[in-house]
Symmetry: C2
Subunit: 250 residues, 2 copies
């Protein structure tokens, strides 16, 4: 009876669950759903997850969705998971719960709104929305400020002053990795002022290598493709401005 | 060493924590903060909760915020709490985590946006925003539909087919109680189509009486005050329309 994970690697909570299982040596079967092709809308998948979102796990007869709930469950149900991921100590665990709960209405809300409305909308058949992107950026920047001043306070390399990562580090860093697809100057504007956050992203990557990069490959490919598109659009603009400002040779 | 709870009873997560402690016979000291008077912005409170939100608990040297994290912690740290609130069974607990995680970006997001922008904004020195209220109502209505068709599926009176309430029932019902302050016809339009949800709210109330009503008293008072205001505004409108349409006696 192998654990099944229904996931799209373009979805940041899907990646967190996949990386977590790989890092902890948990055998699983990955069932890929392509959200851009709306594969989560099939009637078969509705039986597995009526919310039609990813990730979902099926462990024997047990079905579960919501990535934080999945990470908690796997931490407790699979004996090989090291304690630092989801400590059994009541006080340490409660503090991690606090970060996980904070994530939803802060970092996640801001990052999703900004990245969708500034960059990913066309790929999902939607229109970019500059006002919604600006509102998202505001929440995202305030969340990064809070990560730096509150959750990364202390001497540890990870959240809550810890020397080893928890499921909260992995979940939040996978969220921030989504910024890879936006224009470099926008990413620098948003992440640049937060050196501690940048170092923590790097530390979490290193603690979960080589799985971190392997699971993010699809995101890195999209990043390269979008960069190429932007370059080509910029060149076209230069060309068309030359054509309108230079005298014609005809 | 008494548990301290920093709370504003106008805040739905504050009420959930207070009711939970009262129902479970946990002795605590309630420290009231008035969010409308921005008492959470004081430098003393920043030391307790750098996010400057309510509720926060202080249990000896341990400080904790985010209401779901607090409810989980109290369930585990205080021996008198009955198991149904936050079951030790791995599978039951995981399902409750799933509802708690879902709450943030669905029911909570929709309810807060709708109620703030349709009703509460002026009391907090803000302007009502009909567009934001409409967007909030859309998320709220979709969340109510999901509660009815997914989380309340089954024969039990409570979420996940359970015969007794969990911390998820209490948290979600306290969220929905916030609808008490909106105009009756709007509340009926939104809640009316969801009879199962209305019955579940009633069942959760009954399971936590008399504490449920006692902690909600401040909300019921605001409801009465706002109803009176609406009636008086409606009367003024009728009067002024009479004055403009009837011939003057002067």
């Amino acid at each position: 009876m192998t654990l099944k994970i229904y996931a799209d690697r373009m979805s940041q909570p899907s990646r967190a669950v996949l990386i977590f299982c790989k890092v902890n040596g948990i055998t699983f079967e990955e069932i890929k759903l392509d959200l851009a092709r709306r594969q989560q809308r099939s009637s078969e998948y509705k039986e597995i997850n009526p919310l039609r979102q990813v990730p979902t796990i099926v462990d024997g007869r047990f079905k579960l969705f919501e990535s934080h709930a999945i990470l908690r469950y796997i931490s407790c149900a699979f004996p090989g998971v090291a304690d630092h991921w989801y400590p059994s100590d009541l006080f340490k665990r409660a503090k991690i719960e606090s970060v996980l709960d904070w994530h939803h209405s802060n970092l996640r809300r801001g990052a999703v709104a900004y990245i969708l409305n500034s960059t990913l909308a066309p790929a999902l058949g939607l229109q970019k929305n500059p006002q919604a992107a600006a509102e998202g950026e505001k929440i995202l920047s305030s969340s990064l400020e809070q990560i730096e001043s509150i959750w990364l306070k202390g001497n540890g390399r990870f959240l809550l002053g810890s020397s080893k990562p928890s499921i909260a580090d992995l979940s939040l860093v996978c969220e921030l990795m989504q910024l890879q697809v936006v224009d470099e100057k926008d990413r620098d504007r948003i992440l640049g002022p937060h050196k501690k956050v940048e170092q923590w992203i790097e530390d979490t990557k290193q603690a979960t290598m080589p799985h971190f990069d392997e699971v993010h490959t699809v995101l890195f490919k999209l990043k390269a493709k979008l960069q190429e598109q932007r370059l080509s659009e910029a060149n076209n603009k230069i060309e068309s401005s030359k054509n309108t400002t230079l005298p014609s040779k005809m």
